[in-house]
Symmetry: C2
C-alpha cells in the first residue's frame, strides 16, 4: 500500500495531478503503473482510494474514488516536550507521528532553554509529513514551538486530561476520555517552580520507572502507553 | 548523579583507577572534585556508590562504598528484531536500553535480509554502554546478530513468554511472569512461512494498532508497554 499526502482540498477536486518529488518517488522510484491504486490523504484525517489514470513524463493523474479508513487513533494526544537538540527533536516527531500524536509542541523550561528557528521547524514538519505517508495515517500533527513555559495555560486549553512525566510520580495512569496532554520535562527534570505551576494547572504526575529517560525516549514511551495500550495502565 | 560503567570485577577491587575517556569525561568535562560521589555499575546489574579519593593529571581513584539500587526492571525482556539499517538499529538499541531491555538480538527475515559486520556490532554495543550510564541502570544489554531466522528456536529457549508483533494480532497482551521475548518483524511484515514458524514456536500475536510502525518504533513501543505499564494492557 502506498499513502500519498495531498493538499487539503485535493480529495474533493479529482483528478489529482502528481508532480515534482511525489511524481519522482511514485512513478520513477516505485514504478507505479496505470490502473494501480494509491491511498491519498489530506493531512486533516480524511483518506480515499485513488487510481492511476495517466502517467506522463513529469506528471501523473490520480482519479479519486471511495473513502478508506484514516487509521487515526481514537484518542487525541498532544505532546508538550522540553525542546531537545534538533536531531533528537526530529526523532521525537517521527516516532510520535507514527504512533499517533495529533499535536507536538516544544516548550522552554528552566533546565533546557532552547529555541528552534523557522528552518528547524520546517524540517520537523517535513519529517512529520514523511512519517504520515510511511505509517499510513491521514492527519499531520501540528508542530509548534519553542513556546515559553508561561504559555502553558493557553496551550493546555481544550485538554481536560493533563499529565506530566516526573520521577516523583507513581507508575500507572488512566487517560480517561477526551483529549489528553502529555508534558515531558528536560533531562535535568522540572524545577520546583515548574512542578508547582504544573500542579496548579491541574496536571497530574506520572512516573515511568527508575531509569532516567531522555526527553525523546520519554515522549515516545508515554505516547505508546497512552495510544497503544488496550486498557488503562 | 553520575553513573560510571566499570569492568565486571572492579566493584570488588576497590579502589578503582579511572583513566582514558572516562577520566576525561568525569574530571575534565564534568569537573568532578575530591570527595564527590559517583555511582559505579558493573554492567551485570550491580551498583555501588564510590567516592573520589584522588585526582591526578591523567587518572583518578574512586573508593567503592555501599550498594545502591541497580534501577533494573523486574521483568527480563529480550527483543528480537528484524535488522533495520544501522542508524535505525542504533536508535533501537539506545532507546530500548534506556527503557530496560536485557537482550537485543537482530534477526534476518525474508523481507529484510541484512547483516551487520563486527564494526557495526561494536558500535551498537558502545551505544548501549553509553545509554546505561545515561539512564542510570546497572546492566548492559547483550547485543547479538544478525541471526538466521532458523536459529529462533534456540534463541527463544528460556523465554516462556513469547510475543510477536503482527498487524493481524489483536491489541492488548499480558506478559505474565518470567522472561519475555518480543519479536518485531520487518516493515514489509513477516512472510506467511515465518508467521507459521512463529506460531509453531508458541509465539503469540500482538497488534499495535492500525498504523504501520517502523521496526525500531515498534520495538520501542512494545518495550515500553511491556516494561513501563503498571498493569497488563
Amino acid at each position: 500500500m502506498i499513502t500519498l499526502l495531498v493538499s487539503p482540498d485535493a480529495l474533493d477536486a479529482s483528478p489529482i495531478e502528481v508532480t515534482g518529488d511525489s511524481y519522482r518517488h511514485l512513478f520513477r522510484a516505485r514504478r507505479l503503473e496505470l490502473g494501480e491504486r494509491v491511498r491519498v490523504v489530506d493531512g486533516k484525517g480524511h483518506a480515499r482510494w485513488s487510481t492511476v489514470e495517466q502517467v506522463g513524463r513529469t506528471t501523473a493523474r490520480l482519479v479519486v474514488a471511495e473513502e478508506t479508513p484514516g487509521n487515526e487513533p481514537e484518542r487525541e494526544l498532544t505532546i508538550l516536550a522540553a525542546a531537545p537538540r534538533m536531531q533528537r527533536a526530529a526523532w521525537l516527531v517521527e516516532k510520535t507521528t507514527e504512533i499517533g500524536a495529533v499535536t507536538i509542541r516544544f516548550i522552554n523550561s528552566e533546565r533546557s532553554p532552547r529555541s528552534y528557528g523557522e528552518a528547524s521547524l520546517g524540517r520537523l514538519r517535513r519529517v512529520a509529513a514523511a512519517a504520515v505517508e510511511q505509517c499510513h495515517r491521514a492527519r499531520i500533527p501540528e508542530i509548534t514551538g519553542v513556546h515559553p513555559f508561561s504559555e502553558l495555560a493557553n496551550l493546555l486549553a481544550g485538554c481536560p486530561q493533563r499529565w506530566f512525566l516526573d520521577p516523583y510520580g507513581a507508575a500507572g495512569m488512566d487517560p480517561g476520555t477526551g483529549p489528553v496532554a502529555l508534558l515531558v520535562g528536560p533531562e535535568g527534570g522540572w524545577s520546583e517552580i515548574e512542578r508547582e505551576a504544573l500542579l496548579g494547572l491541574d496536571c497530574r504526575r506520572w512516573g515511568l520507572g527508575e531509569r532516567t529517560l531522555r526527553v525523546e525516549t520519554a515522549a515516545v514511551a508515554g505516547c505508546s502507553l497512552i495510544l497503544l495500550a488496550k486498557t488503562p495502565m
